[in-house]
């Protein structure tokens, strides 16, 4: 009756007719199914995110049990900050390295110990280590952390610790938490170390090194300058030895 009356008065109009042409409301079963899907999708998505997050963090060093603690350095090779070897050594070797770069890790662990024994400990050469940030945040934090350890005279022990605990790039191995764990494992004064790392005391120095590397045309790590000779990438011990001997001969 009412509809009839509205039609007669012209109240229905096109909008009202559209309203009436709407498909009938969805069946109860379809609606329930929709709700079920909505809740299941939401729960599954969150569970998936948490699991994925945990798995991708898994690359990191989670606790001290999986920490590789390198042999502590003895007094054989003198060091001052990031310089290894005697300050009066006739030849200077400058190494540009990223703590996250795997080849830098190999250089540090496979080649450098022998070079150190033959040339740095004997006072023939000194090594100036320049960290750069080429690979991301964790390279930055690791570099800052090395200098924070350097404040306590442990730059080189921390350097060894970092390279011994490389676990992929930017996967949490050098998260600030882990960097603090490394410091604790090296028996550093953790209060001082943590304060240094948290306040970013050496943030500027990383940027300085990066700029310096750029102006010297370095675009990959490791890059080592033996005197005037540059060695790009990971090379054999012999390659370094030849370069060092040549430079030493030139200096004589």
């Amino acid at each position: 009756m009412a509809r009839e009356a509205r039609r007669q008065r012209g109240l229905g109009g096109p909008r009202r007719r559209r309203e009436q042409r709407r498909p009938p409301r969805l069946s109860r079963r379809l609606r329930s199914l929709g709700w079920l899907v909505a809740v299941v999708v939401a729960v599954a998505a969150v569970a998936g995110l948490i699991v994925l997050g945990t798995l991708t963090r898994g690359g990191g060093v989670d606790d001290n049990t999986s920490l590789v603690v390198p042999t502590p350095r003895g007094p054989e090779t003198p060091s001052q900050g990031s310089i290894l070897g005697s300050a009066n050594a006739p030849l200077t070797i400058v190494e540009y390295s990223d703590f996250q770069c795997p080849f830098c890790g190999e250089l540090a662990q496979e080649i450098m110990p022998q070079l150190e024994k033959d040339y740095l400990a004997t006072g023939k050469a000194k090594l100036v280590f320049k960290y750069v940030r080429f690979l991301g945040d964790e390279s930055q934090w690791a570099a800052e952390a090395a200098d924070c350890a350097g404040e306590q005279g442990k730059f080189w022990d921390y350097h060894d610790m970092l390279f011994a605990n490389q676990r992929g790039e930017n996967k949490g191995a050098f998260s600030k938490d882990n960097l603090k764990r490394f410091a604790a494992a090296l028996n550093l004064d953790t209060t001082a170390f943590n304060a240094c790392l948290d306040e970013g005391r050496y943030t500027g120095k990383v940027a300085e090194n990066n700029n310096e590397a750029r102006t010297r045309g370095i675009n990959s790590t490791p890059t080592v300058f033996v005197g005037q000779t540059s060695i790009v990438g990971l090379k054999s011990y012999e390659a370094f030895k030849t370069a060092i001997e040549e430079e030493l001969a030139r200096a004589r």
């Binding site: 009412a2 909505a38 939401a42 998505a45």
Partner: protein, 158 residues
Amino acid sequence: MRRAKAQVLARPGGLSTGGRLRWGGLSVLAVAGMGVAAYLTYTHWADKPVACGNLGDCNLVQTSEYSAIAGVPVALLGFLLCAALLGVVVWRVGPDRSGMAAEWAPVAVFSMTLMGVAYAAYLTYVELFVLEAICIYCVALASIITASWLISLAELFA
């Protein structure tokens, strides 16, 4: 009486006053959430410190390994969620000739905000008990998402 009801139904989108309040509220929350999440995503990518004064320790949270999943900043996920929420709100309040939006937009909003609330709860747990640092922007975003979820519940029972 019947005529008044017919006019309410004939309004575009068929929204009652309460409905307009709820969907309007959701749009405000979605935009606010996008703002907060965009700021956190920016600071994450640009490696900038988060300006949070002395409230909590935003930077510890933002630089922690929990701040990204497989390289994707968690804040970006929050931004996408809020943007999607805004999209659904626009769908709901816009022309709805087939009635699909009226039927499914509340379901979509409920599902999305449930997801947001659950993940925000997990992140807040991580902040409090794993990192032992609270990030005021993260708390703000979690509150926005929780409020949206409560509104979506109200919409369900309206």
